[in-house]
Amino acid sequence: MNCEDFMTTINVNRLSSGLKLQENVELKQHLEACPKCQTEYDEMLQTVAVLESLRNPDPPPDLALKIQKQIAKEHRRSRLAFFASPLARLLAALKFNPHPALVNCTAMVFYLVLTVFLVKLTFFSEPDNSVHVLSPTKTVWRSAHVVTTSWATIRGIPVPMEESEQVTAEEMLIQER
């Protein structure tokens, strides 16, 4: 056995598992005959002994709690629907943390109401008859009514106006003059 054989045979596994060289006659013989390998072997044994004395530092006492809080936050976040996060942020800013499902529902209802409102405003805002109820001298209301249909006008939708209404409008103008 030469030095190279010796070095490949004494691996860390052998050193660490307490299997020293005693049981291998060939290795033992080489070791006794070769001072270079003897030194190498001793140093490796020493290094292994130092490493085996390694102990793990203890974690800071509050680390587990910190992690658990962070996980709880992440868990909450993951259960919020994507559309509910602005509402959740708003509630969190107000120091109010309801159940994620509740936040989701509230956000959904909010968006639903908003959608209905917008749809109504865009497509179903017909000129109403409320103006007739008002006193004909209050032309301010009349002009306010025109403003509410401006969106439809911009979009090029002809705003239907009944003949009788046109007449009343002309009459009102005459009255004003």
């Binding site: 691996n11 860390v12 596994n13 050193l15 660490s16 140093e43 490796m44 020493q46 290094t47 292994v48 130092v50 490493l51 085996e52 390694l54 102990r55 793990n56 530092p57 203890d58 974690p59 800071p60 680390l63 587990a64 910190k66 992690i67 658990q68 962070q70 996980i71 709880a72 992440e74 868990h75 909450r76 993951s78 259960r79």
Partner: protein, 193 residues
């Protein structure tokens, strides 16, 4: 009563808590944090050589584990999988960290703080132990990350070759040869201890 609860609790395998967490029970993960945070912190401390980075890395490890838990296939033990997440997190830290300069210093401080509690009656022993541990850590810090991981998992975490191979996704032969190389590298640095 309380002790019997603890015994029962400890007998429940990790996988049960993993299943519960995946099914949406966020508090089940708390038990996994309680069981494993100390050794993950120990691993991170030895891998990064710095207690502050180790705390951060431990938190990131658990957060990442929580997020990717649905992808855990139960092909290995949960702890093995968690070690893998931790090693990856530590290696990311090593890559982007330029904190090697403050490593030894802050690590020694951390140990000094800890040992003060144990060895306050023997100040000399305390200094010796701290310096010794600091020197070992400084030597480990010099190793390339792959060798460092093997040394830390084998000596500080007491994992078997087979488990290390699973954590690092390599063969047992690779583990053995990396460990041999690491020991030869450490030999000259630790000669005087």
């Amino acid at each position: 009563m309380l002790s019997s609860f603890f015994v029962v609790n400890l007998m429940i395998p990790d996988d049960v808590y993993v299943h519960k967490t995946v099914e949406g029970d966020g508090s089940a993960f708390n038990e996994l944090v309680q069981r494993h945070h100390a050794k993950i912190y120990g691993l991170a401390c030895r891998m990064l050589g710095n207690p502050d980075d180790a705390s951060d890395a431990t938190q990131e490890t658990f957060l990442e584990a929580f997020k990717s838990l649905p992808s855990f296939q139960f092909q290995s033990k949960f702890s093995t999988w968690l070690y893998r997440v931790a090693i990856n997190t530590c290696q990311q830290h090593i890559r982007k960290s330029d904190s090697r300069g403050r490593t030894l210093m802050s690590y020694s401080n951390c140990l000094r703080e800890q040992n003060r509690q144990y060895d306050s009656d023997f100040p000399e022993r305390m200094v010796l132990k701290t310096e010794r541990d600091g020197l070992i850590q400084a030597a480990i810090d010099q190793l390339p990350p792959k060798q460092r991981a093997v040394v830390v998992l084998f000596y500080a975490q007491n994992l078997k070759y087979r488990e290390i191979a699973l954590v690092l996704d390599c063969s047992e032969g690779t583990v053995a040869s990396r460990l041999n190389t690491a020991i030869r590298n450490l030999k000259s640095m630790l000669k005087d201890l």
